[in-house]
Subunit: 695 residues, 2 copies
């Protein structure tokens, strides 16, 4: 094969190893991953006729959106539900099944098309580096648009029969029964009984008389159950799973203060302010209702503002503070609102005992959920450590996903909060289980949750937009909305500044004033607030609260989200180039953190504990340091293959147990380390030169 | 760093590149991927105390199953639906929402727990190389077990009120209306109207009087819509997306004959046989009903038997035949059954014109769906080729998944068959789009669909088991089931042997007798047959058909699936070592095929077309060869970055258009190839030696 080009037949080509064959003619156009961005930029700059202008691309997107609307308009009219008697009950069932299928398909296609348009828009925004409106905002606007189309264009009109009924023997009912039974005279003459179920979401619709047709707009308003059971868990899990642990834990004290004290203050302050407003303008709201509103509206949303912070490459501590607060206060808001809700239901007046017991209940539920989630995460770590399931990445990934979801469901079953459990399960899984997974499963699970979380988020924001026109459980009250916007801003200011001052007594470096302003400004509301408000809309006041929540989400996402980038510049917050000096070490630590905790633990855990505490990022406070040592000496050796094994870190009396809990890999991998550690010159020179060669 | 071991602080460690640092102390225990299996075997053999016995593991699994049953039993009783008047309608709504949430959570947890147990079992089976029962079989058995528990242990008893109602003014209704409205006297005295919806799946339940309580068993029997819209599409798409193209296309003629002619013969033969049987024993079945049964039961299932064939490493042609048939006859069965169903609904008698028009309709729907799916797949290829969305793998993967799902929904909307569309969309995406994706998206999409498809399959088989005890739309008729089993076996034999003989006239090498027996034996039924039967169970005959389908699925999966491995040995079918000689070239071709079509096209497409046709695997038939040339010269250069670009393959008159449709990468990457091609000695020696070095 010297100096000659040989035409290879397919068999010969096949005998060559596949990896180097991959693209032999492209010089290096598809390297494995990191330099790709640069390379594609190169192509971009040199491209001439295959490049395309923003206007063309936007035109394409609008064409797509228009085409889908046309498709809907033309095919949407489900009209085959004719009441011909041909074929009797079987044919009727067939027609009915077909209609329902068609309706479901139209709704699904609508949502999927919008999601496609959202993805394309998001990409264009990234591509042209738009700053003034974020994808989330655009998603909301698309949702509004689709809502208008669904509402005013009679799409998917399902002709249907509605009958007014009374109970047999005219029994009086004071509460809607769950099921009704109606006798229908079939074709064969005998009466067949059919069962009807109470529709959720159409609860207490007093003036339904004008609606004689059930439309797609009503069908497409889906149950809040879907939010809580299907859409939210992956988002929250992903928040925990992709948490940048190091900067998060460095700021854990401040974050926890914000989350617990801050959210509670915000809840109460909002309720008090709204109570004053509503009293002045004579709206009939109970204080408990407003407290419920305060609780749900205190859940800030991490999505939009974090995307901006990420893009601007803002300083790591500010990022950690805003992320930590918005990721965890969802959990507090959900527990708070549930506590208030159950308290409201008993109908008692406010007394000290009640508040005390609510507080105790709150702590119980929160801590219980936290422990449950962590225990399930650790159980999965044990499972993946002591079995060889990592030989089958598909099964391993499936198990990982299922167990993570299980933590949510089990918490809900035992009357705890699933969202809190799934958040801490995510953190534990990232900290321990992730290291036991096979390389395939590591990437698969990371990307799976990223993907599902991204799609769920897009779907929720789109749905929030749609719900404005489609849902019939929103009652828009402009006055209430204006008051609410004022109240939540004041309520947020009321806890952000004092708590920052409180934190600054201890904290080095302190949180500067411009960071405090930015934290205040980052109080966007999103999916969780909407989901909590949408859950129960039985009374008119609750429908007003839902409408106000939607309005607040729209306003904060569009206004605060759109101006976040400008605000960072205006407040003079370190970002990009300027923040880089401090951030570089953090980022590389982050990477190291991400790449695997083996590195950390195997290369210097046995050493660091005794040595240079100056290099330890955990040295700031007593408690974190204690936890770090416990984690490195006990938790990691127990739950992962990290070294030193338990046989060395535990007191020698526990040796038999420690030996049982140490994996072969820990024993094997620890030998070389010990050797190097003991006789610091012989074999290590080899491994070091290898490292040098590879680097 | 010579000859000294240096303790690195975290910052220094962080500055080293992450890849080689990953596990510096483990000699080579976690290489990137291929040798992992062997390595874990090593550990396995040397492991002593951390290894575990099968009995321990099975005990663990049963413990988990038992614990989940206990959890269900203890927490399942949803009893808070007390009818106290405290709190009025709002509190009632709150209680109702809470109960529904609890019930949904219990059902979800049941399914998720079973899925976890299934994953663990599947892994144990792989680990201990069980052969006599496959995971799918075990999944069915778990499903049966859960069904029994749900049915006989009163889990999740939801106390609820059911009222008998009559229409206002006593209007007679001949067909169940879609909605009922009932007035309820609220706490404030005024009447509030509530809307009730007809429950699907409880259609035509004549004797429901004894059921005064609605139980979880009824709630957990979910709508067939979920099968068709959510669970099936990813399974079918994955079948297309992970298709081993080369051996599939080599056998395309035989496969298509099996799929179209075979399925139709099977449908008719089953119907005729069943008609004879039912007439003899005096069961009142219309021929159309039996034809419908014949159509749905002709859909064979690829999952179980392919897993066995894969494990046994069976000869590639047999694998392709069985896979091709079972993957594509789902599509034919669905179109056939829909055609028969719509024909049944018109209620006409059988005539020639009717059969003709049904045939034409069948072809129209099939070809239309095929084209639609392919066009959408190609559109996505164009989109990914001419944009730089691959810079954002997350968005790219999301788009890929959404567009693939869209093909299903659009086909359903325009009255075509979504399953056919999504299958061919999958094949197109694998053939074209896949090559345009970023490396991240390639693995993400592959694994995402593998994962989702695996979970969907497990869920469906589990649900088939559960449905035996939980669903109330199955009517078990032992005689019918026995006849059905006999009929489907005969009907399969009636087409497998004659068609094989027909194929063997042309085919070299012919399909040997033992292959034919194996194809007959591989006629397992699964998800698709069940879903089709479950769709409409309005009449008693349809309920008998559903029960028979479930019985056939259970029987074939447990019996045929369990004995498949033994059957391969018994029939003396080449597998493992013996099949290796022939297979090696195929497999490596497969790999090459998988790794990227660039290789094929860029290294010998421009050359092969003119040269040695003996090496071309496509040379068997005229049509495939024509298609291959068209694909290499037009489709691939148009839809992917493959070379030679269109500017060279199209006639020179089309140059301006061809230039527009050629990406920069195609231009750039084609230069070196052309150079090598023109002056066969200079630069190619370099690239060859590079290849040698790397191999």
């Amino acid at each position: 094969m010297t100096g000659r080009y040989v035409v290879l037949g397919p068999e010969e080509v096949a005998l060559l190893p596949p990896a180097p064959l991959r693209d032999p003619s492209l010089p290096s156009s598809r390297p494995s991953s990191p330099p790709k961005r640069r390379e594609s930029n190169q192509i971009r700059s040199s491209s001439s006729f295959t490049s395309f202008s923003p206007s063309k691309a936007m035109a394409g997107i609008w064409l797509l959106l228009g085409a889908s609307v046309l498709l809907l308009l033309s095919s949407g009219r489900v009209s085959s539900h004719r009441y011909d008697t041909n074929g009797g009950l079987e044919a009727a069932a067939e027609r009915r099944a077909e209609n329902l299928h068609r309706l479901d398909t139209i709704i699904l296609l609508t949502y999927i098309t919008v999601l496609i348009v959202i993805v394309l828009t998001a990409w264009l925004f990234k591509y042209y580096r738009f700053r003034f409106i974020h994808e989330t905002g655009v998603t909301l606007i698309y949702g509004l648009f689709i809502g208008i189309v669904l509402r005013y264009f009679n799409i998917g009109l399902l002709e249907s029969q509605t009958f007014d009924v009374v109970t047999k023997n005219d029994t009086t009912v004071n509460e809607p029964p769950d099921y009704l039974r109606l006798g229908v005279n079939g074709d064969t003459g005998k009466t067949v009984t059919f069962t009807y179920e109470l529709i959720e979401g159409f609860f207490a619709d007093a003036d339904k008389t004008k609606h004689n047709e059930r439309k797609i707009e009503q069908k497409s308003a889906f149950s809040p159950e879907l939010f809580f059971n299907v859409l939210l868990p992956p988002i929250i899990f992903n928040a925990g799973y992709s948490l940048k642990k190091r900067s998060f834990f460095r700021n854990i004290g401040s974050i926890l203060l914000f989350v617990f004290l801050g959210t509670t203050i915000s809840c109460i302050a909002t309720a008090v302010l709204m109570f004053v407003f509503t009293r002045i303008f004579g709206m009939g709201f109970h204080f408990q209702e407003l407290l419920f509103f305060g609780a749900l509206i205190s859940a800030t949303d991490p999505i939009t503002v974090l995307a901006v912070l990420n893009e601007k490459n803002v300083e790591a501590n500010l990022y950690a503070l805003i992320f930590g607060e918005s990721a965890m206060n969802d959990a507090v808001a959900i527990v708070l609102s549930a506590t208030i809700d159950s308290y409201t239901m008993t109908g008692d007046t406010v007394d000290l005992m009640g508040i005390m017991s609510a507080g105790v209940n709150f702590v119980e539920v929160f801590v219980g959920s936290l422990l449950l989630g962590s225990v399930i995460g650790c159980a999965n770590a044990i499972l993946t450590k002591f079995t060889y399931i990592s030989d089958h990445p598909l099964l391993e990934s499936a198990l990982f996903i299922l167990i993570s979801y299980c933590s949510f469901l089990i918490a809900e079953i035992v009357h705890l909060t699933g969202i809190v459990a799934v958040l801490f399960c995510g953190i534990c899984q990232a900290h321990y289980t992730y290291n036991n997974l096979s390389v395939e499963s590591q990437t698969t699970t990371k990307r799976f949750f990223q993907l599902v979380s991204f799609l769920s988020e897009a779907f929720i924001f789109c749905y929030i937009g749609i719900s404005v026109f489609v849902g019939n459980n929103q009652k828009w009250n402009i006055l209430f909305i204006i008051f609410a916007l004022i109240s939540i801003t004041i309520a947020r200011a009321v806890y952000v500044y004092p708590l920052c001052e409180l934190i600054n007594i201890q904290r080095r470096p302190p949180i500067p004033k411009n960071y405090q302003h930015m934290i205040l400004f980052s109080g966007l509301r999103g999916a969780m607030a909407f989901a909590l408000a949408d859950r129960n809309t039985a009374t008119e006041n609750r429908q007003i609260i839902l409408a106000a929540t939607v309005a607040i989400v729209l306003f904060t996402v569009l206004f605060n989200g759109g101006l976040a980038s400008w605000m960072i510049d205006y407040l003079g917050i370190k970002h990009g180039e300027r923040a880089n000096e401090e951030e570089r070490t953090t980022t590389s630590r982050e990477i190291q953190d991400e790449v695997g905790d083996y590195t950390t633990s195997s290369s210097h855990s046995g050493v660091t504990i005794a040595s240079t505490p100056g290099h330890n990022p955990w040295d700031k406070a007593f408690l974190p340091r204690k936890w770090y040592n416990f984690d490195a000496n006990f938790m990691k050796p127990l739950l992962t293959h990290a070294t030193p094994p338990l046989t060395e870190t535990l007191p020698s009396i526990c040796y038999p147990i420690a030996k049982m809990l140490t994996s072969d890999r820990q024993f094997h991998s620890h030998q070389p380390l010990r050797m190097r550690y003991d006789s610091e010159s012989g074999s290590c020179s080899m491994s070091n030169s290898l490292e040098q060669m590879l680097s």
